[in-house]
Symmetry: C2
Subunit: 240 residues, 2 copies
């Protein structure tokens, strides 16, 4: 946690551009146990959807921490890549959401493919509070405040590609990560992009054929990577 | 596991270029439980330090699997980056070893820094069998056979930089990942490189000052990343 992330409703104005916030949850535990902070210490803060700033701890005990803060710094630029991901198993989803959020992704779209287990769509990891937790961990890591969106599309793959993907691809160059593609992943920002990443076992041939009609296939060379490794590697190449 | 990795001493020659191998460990469990393989199925194999090939399962029961195989394909090219890493906490070390091995790193050097907890050097994760397991998982993932080396340097940081780093840097352009460096990480292979990555909390200023004298500082932009994310992102940029 490189940033204490506050909700706008936690801020009470106490003067021109100054606010007070009182924490009693895991952010308190983080201040006490990880940062070993004391009254008078300064910590980095940010407001969800808003600016970054610095806070001074004005009171701290086992129940609460009281911060006085000033904002004014913009969050880092977003990475203009929509990540369209075959829903991975829950631990992989957590890693991808946290890491891709840290890298600046602001829109996640989760879809079904032949090699996605149906049970993944009823996993606790897809509950709103679990998703919010993973996104928040990514934001706190990268000192960002802009919470990404996560869309879940459990319909059949064919329907997803026909009915949803065209609108998603209007948002940016559609790329599909496919080991064995002859075009390497770009090594520089290409403007807005929609990056499609398949399941751990890969797309089946019929799925590849459908995707090739709507997206440019790219790869990272001859090495087969885990989904969480491939996503970070692809985003690192496309990042400014 | 995209490859059944065999040790050379497991191969028994049965004809010109053909070998037999009998498995009874987790590779057997993988064949039975993950691949749900049957007699007659073909699986990808490789020999540690050697070639890739295909095997046919000629016998399979609860105790053993017998494979007959032919080799002949070279493993994928190595990534010519020596990863010089401040020893991270054990779960992070595992992720880095597995992912960087999958990306093709062949030499890891683990060192001490001010923000490395001393206890990490006595972790079970540094035992030879634990390291070998992580490297093997990375090789099996990426269908590679060349086992990386891992060197552990528990001496003080200053001594490491003075006495060890010069020889390591002779092997390739020395780069140190340092958030806030004004030079971005290269976006293409730069030939052999020695990539130095600090601990989760960063190098302390005195350490940065020493490293700046012997290596080029590079960064990945304003976002602070976890060690495992940063390593994958850096390697993805430097990879061919």
């Amino acid at each position: 946690m490189n940033l204490i992330l506050l909700r706008p409703d936690e801020l009470a104005a106490i003067g021109a551009g100054s606010y007070r916030a009182v924490l009693a949850d895991r952010r308190l535990a983080h201040l006490r146990e990880v940062l070993r902070a004391s009254v008078g210490d300064s910590v980095g803060v940010g407001v969800e959807g808003g600016e970054l700033g610095r806070a001074t701890i004005v009171a701290l005990d086992e129940q609460t921490a009281t911060l006085e803060l000033r904002l004014g710094e913009p969050p880092p630029p977003a990475l203009d890549v929509t990540l369209v991901l075959a829903l991975p198993r829950p631990p992989t989803l957590r890693k991808v959401l946290q890491q891709a959020t840290a890298l600046g992704v602001k829109r996640f779209v989760l879809f079904r493919a032949e090699r996605v287990e149906k049970s993944y769509f009823s996993s606790h990891g897809l509950h709103a509070h679990a998703l919010a937790e993973d996104l928040r961990l990514g934001l706190e890591q990268a000192r960002d405040t802009i919470v990404p969106t996560v869309e879940i599309h459990p319909e059949h793959f064919g329907r997803f590609v026909r009915e949803r993907l065209p609108a998603l691809s209007e948002g940016g160059t559609p790329l599909v990560a496919h080991p064995g593609a002859t075009t390497p992943c770009p090594r520089a920002p290409i403007g807005p992009a929609t990056l499609i990443v398949g399941p751990e076992g890969g797309f089946i041939p019929a799925e590849v054929a459908m995707l090739m009609q709507v997206a440019q296939a790219i790869d990272l060379g001859p090495r087969i990577l885990r989904v969480e490794t491939a996503v970070v590697a692809l985003l690192a190449r496309l990042a400014p």
